[in-house]
Symmetry: C2
Subunit: 338 residues, 2 copies
DNA sequence: CGAATTTTGAGGTGCGTACCTCAAATAGAT
DNA sequence: ATCTATTTGAGGTACGCACCTCAAAATTCG
């Protein structure tokens, strides 16, 4: 049987009350007494029963996901996974809600974060670009005892366990390598399509992509990024124009999470270019199976969500996380392993 | 606040004892009373607090992993992940032990399973080939209230939630597709190396591999599988012989989880073949980074272990599992996304 | 040295459920 | 209607811990 607080008290020669004070680092215990209790913890291999602790505390964990407004399919997947996680984690007393933000308005985000009530929310996962104001607001939340993580995008410079997502540069490099290996050996041009290149994520992907292509596939020329701004007409115009003016387009790399728009236009072209896109959505999945696109670089939305919740919870409990479980992989999907 | 059993009792107009009987479906409750309680559950949206339930029951979950004897690096990874999972799941009162078996001796395995004591073990994850005796023994365990899952290999024909692992045919197909796309366009031969082709997993991988190559890359010829039997001398001999007798080997596909032996010999050959192997181990990882091999098809050992434990636990609690979390992915690693 | 302060102990209550006992109510059989 | 078997209720204890109070003990300070 696992040792309990009672065993600890006996072993340390103190009372239950003192053990309790040490465990929950409440004040009013002399340093050497603390040391004695900690020694007993070591010696007995005491593991605090979080289950019982949370029961006693009547604690439940309430988390908030701040996601950009706007409806790309990837985001929809994320939201669906949050719902799913709510079911899965309900027995463990965890709950998450989604709130949408304008991800280009740091002021609004900072305000929202500042207004959060520690009694209502235990942790926040924030998907937003890296604004100083947001960063500051997150720091202040931490001071008020509300846990935070950056989610999918932004603030990657922070410690790895403060960020739930992939290294976008590596993701771009992965795309680059696949493009290099999949595309024909003969010289050709690569079209890069993004919703916007203002997002740091897109820049990093492009960076990683270019790096690999330049280094190892000099016969391929990467064209300047096309930006769709999410506008169907603009997309159609600029992509068609590119195909028209550049003969020999060997590959298309669709950077952003919303691949549908560009893909519909690209696949309508007569060319037989290698196409690589990001994120697994019903649309990209179908396109991969039908052979319209060649590979998908993804991160698992379910994993992202659960990881964020587990990390937030570990923070609330001041517990270590299991790093290997929380590492988000850059996944490669082709038709066969979908 | 979430409704408790007390609220349920009031809402159903029965006592706590009766609610308890219904929840844990103990006998001694009339059908219509059961119905009344269930209605109250629906109406209040009662979610049973597993945390409190397990506390009250003083329950901990003790699982057993039956793994083949023998020391390939992949297996070592699995064992390491089990250790890790023990730490991570300790607060949730789950524990797992490893026991090694002779995976070619169904009799011994069946005996071992038959001798398991329901008071000592709550669930078993079994990694063994598909023997009828083992299957029967597993069925008998289920009758005695001990949960079972097939782990990584074997009994894939069972329901998906009885099997923790990947579809090896799809994994082979994935390898085939990558081989087809990575290897040069000119005709060439593909060497396939396995420890043994007696294992069903190997057969399925080969099957999937061949399927893709034959269908889409007719210029590639897949040679008969070489079997190393885990013997270094034999491996060296047969692999060198193959390289000597076949000019133009364009690719090497290493089937089994123990890639080290064949890889060391293959990479010593002067050829510049595309090399694809399975499983991520310190060795294959290094080989991928150094460029000696081109791609790795893997399943995440940590995920496998945690998934098995979560599934076993859900079975013990007679709970649904979250299928999307337990789906083991066929991962593709190249240098860039390692 | 005594007073003020800090540290510690003992004990209680509650979290939501499991599980047990004993008695009471109800149903079914004769 | 009487007896028996079944079903139900009331209440208690326990699980391991959090958190509270009050008093006793130890320590520090002037």
């Amino acid at each position: 049987m696992r040792p309990t607080t009672k065993d600890l008290a006996i072993a340390a020669g103190v009372s239950l009350a003192t053990v309790d004070r040490v465990l929950n680092d409440r004040s009013g215990v002399r340093k050497d007494t603390v040391a004695r209790v900690n020694q007993a913890i070591e010696k007995l291999g005491f593991i605090r029963n979080l289950v019982a602790a949370n029961l006693a505390r009547g604690k439940d964990y309430r988390f908030l996901f701040l996601l950009p407004r706007g409806g790309d399919q990837f985001l929809a997947e994320v939201v669906a996974r949050i719902e799913e996680a709510n079911l899965a984690f309900a027995p463990e007393m965890m709950r998450a809600e989604v709130r949408h933000i304008h991800d280009s308005d740091p002021h609004q985000i900072a305000n929202l974060l500042g207004a959060l009530d520690g009694d209502q929310v235990d942790g926040v996962a924030i998907m937003a670009p890296e604004f100083p104001q947001v960063r500051d607001a997150m720091a202040r939340l931490a001071e008020r005892g509300i846990a935070t993580v950056s989610f999918i995008s932004g603030h990657i410079s922070s410690a790895p366990e403060d960020f739930v997502g992939i290294d976008n540069r590596a993701a771009g490099a992965t795309a680059g390598r696949l493009m290099g290996r999949f595309a024909a050996l003969s010289p050709g041009k690569i079209l890069v399509v993004a919703e916007t290149m203002h997002a740091r994520d897109s820049l990093e992907r492009r960076l990683g992509f270019d790096e690999v292509i330049h280094a190892d596939y000099p016969h391929l020329t990467v064209l300047p990024s096309l930006e769709t701004y999410g506008d169907p007409e603009r997309s159609a115009r600029i992509i068609r124009a590119s195909f028209a003016s550049h003969a020999g387009i060997a590959g298309v790399y669709v950077l952003g999470p919303e691949a549908r728009l560009p893909l519909e236009i690209v696949t309508a072209q007569p060319s037989r270019a290698t196409i690589i896109a990001h994120e697994r959505t019903p649309f990209t999945e179908a396109a991969l199976l039908s052979g319209e696109i060649d590979a998908l670089i993804t991160q698992d939305p379910g994993h992202l969500v659960r990881s964020a919740m587990r990390i937030l919870r570990a923070r609330c409990d001041r517990r270590e996380i299991l790093a290997s479980q929380e590492k988000i992989r850059i996944e490669i999907f082709i038709k066969e392993n979908l």
